[in-house]
Symmetry: C2
């Protein structure tokens, strides 16, 4: 194989109760990346469209990952990379994760599938470090494994792929404001009340149980975040309005995607998802803040080969 074109999905991390532990991949939104083998070793970025990202090999999440894998594998070839960003960096939808995960996946294909998904996740985490300063696993694991994932442990890294009820849909709104991950981290408390922690892990248990049993009611009851959301929601203008609009229209629940500003809502079925989309759109269009929205299935397969 000398060439591959892939789709690397956007991802929603945290998923209300599962702060720093849960994530899922989206079907409708993501990046396209191409990887072409070159006789010359090393990585070249030949084109980036859709967003203004660095061409510096060691600072771009995708090329940094490719370089690391090619070195680790002692590859006798290089890679020429193109990236078409299908969604905005800084949206809270795992932009750097899509680039890093896509890079790991594409490179592995050109290497003849040397590495497991867990190993690819580790390589992609290096890309997250390049982009954001820390080796966060939830977005990259969701992009690589697809579906819902649980980061059970970092040391050693253990990723659990969870089932996805077939009617689960996601509606997302991206208010066009900028939140730095660093700022979103800074508002979080260093400590939380033990009783709040208990509430949160009972909801994690409920959400995961709901995913295994297709129990939408239980998923809905469990989509509650009393830890990160109360601290972060003030960073997102009209967050409560979005959430109320979503739940009023029948969403199972809504919360902050990653560190925001995107807000996601989970829904059972297309009809409800469309109603939730309209309800959120209606509530946000008079705020004076530009926004983008999408409806999507949950992506079960992770990164997809286009060509």
């Amino acid at each position: 194989m000398n060439y591959i074109k892939i789709f690397a999905p956007a991802t929603v991390a945290n998923v209300s109760c599962g702060f720093d532990s849960l994530g899922f991949a989206v079907d409708a939104v993501g990046d396209e990346m191409t990887f072409t083998k070159t006789a010359e070793k090393g990585v070249k970025i030949t084109n980036i469209t859709g967003a203004d990202l660095t061409y510096n090999i060691d600072e771009n999440a995708a090329s940094a990952v490719i370089k690391k894998i090619l070195n680790t594998a002692n590859a006798d070839f290089g890679i020429a990379l193109t990236i078409h960003k299908g969604f905005s960096p800084g949206s809270g939808l795992g932009s750097s994760a899509a680039s890093a995960a896509g890079a790991a996946f594409g490179t592995n294909q050109l290497l003849g599938d040397m590495y497991s998904n867990l190993e690819l996740t580790k390589f992609a985490m290096f890309g997250e470090k390049v982009a954001c300063g820390s080796e966060i696993a939830d977005n990259v694991a969701a992009a690589i494994f697809g579906g819902f994932i649980l980061v059970r442990s970092y040391h050693p890294l253990e990723i659990i792929k969870l089932p996805v009820p077939s009617e689960l849909r996601v509606v997302a709104i991206h208010p066009q404001i900028s939140i730095k991950t660093k700022d979103a981290r800074a508002v979080l408390p260093a400590e939380i009340a033990l009783k709040d922690a208990v509430t949160q892990w009972a909801n994690v248990g409920g959400l995961i149980s709901g995913l295994y049993t297709d129990n939408y009611n239980l998923i809905s009851n469990s989509l509650v975040d009393i830890v990160a959301e109360p601290a972060r929601k003030s960073l997102i203008p009209f967050f409560d309005d979005i959430k109320n609009s979503a739940t009023k229209a029948g969403a199972l629940g809504a919360g902050i995607s990653g560190s925001g500003p995107t807000v996601f809502a989970l829904c059972e079925g297309d009809v409800v998802a469309k109603a939730v989309y309209k309800s959120i759109e209606e509530s946000y269009k008079n705020t004076g803040i530009n926004f983008e929205m999408f409806i999507s299935k949950v992506n079960h397969k992770g990164i997809k080969i286009i060509k």
Copy 2:
């Protein structure tokens, strides 16, 4: 129905990572209770064996629950109760919970099965309040529902019954020392680090995922408690020795049952369970502290009708 004899199981609450949220019922150990309809209204305790418990109707967890249910149901009969305790109060194995849950179940049978398991759990929680001062659900729900349970929420009360892998066994050791629930609560921190909370809820997610998928390795990896166990283990003499003996002999994990002093170990299969039993016994017999032990399957059915 004018008479019923039941078995109300001992239960293990918390289950390492699931502090105040998870519990499971035990097959081999529990109380026997009989309920006889009387023409005279109200409750009488006619006999208590196996432990020194109060005959005061409003202070005994079982009779207090029976009284409450009979009043709520506006029953036209009374109940004469006998209790044979099969295990010690104060062991950390849900002694008051077995009494309270058994009382709720037995009374409901004589009422012609008026109430759901969830309603019976609420009645039994009143018994916990009578016995311990707070309406804790994890032990009583495990006794009533059987198997593994998750207390997803208290307000409203939502109990999720989780699956139990068929080879799951429990080994328990009860050092004959006394720990008051109040003291075990007092050593807990009011606040915990957010990063520790994340670790804990990722393990709750892993444990529940392992139960759904019969993944003993994942169950083992997830049986970690970095919140309550570090604070409480000093209350249990030779706790680390017990735990090391259990894991060395192949246990999936070990932890404090409820607020102790009983320590439980989960194992895959009878052969490992027997080896774990012997290993713990060997390590504890020279401590100078008296102890009791048992091996059991996880009880899938909750309270059982004997006659």
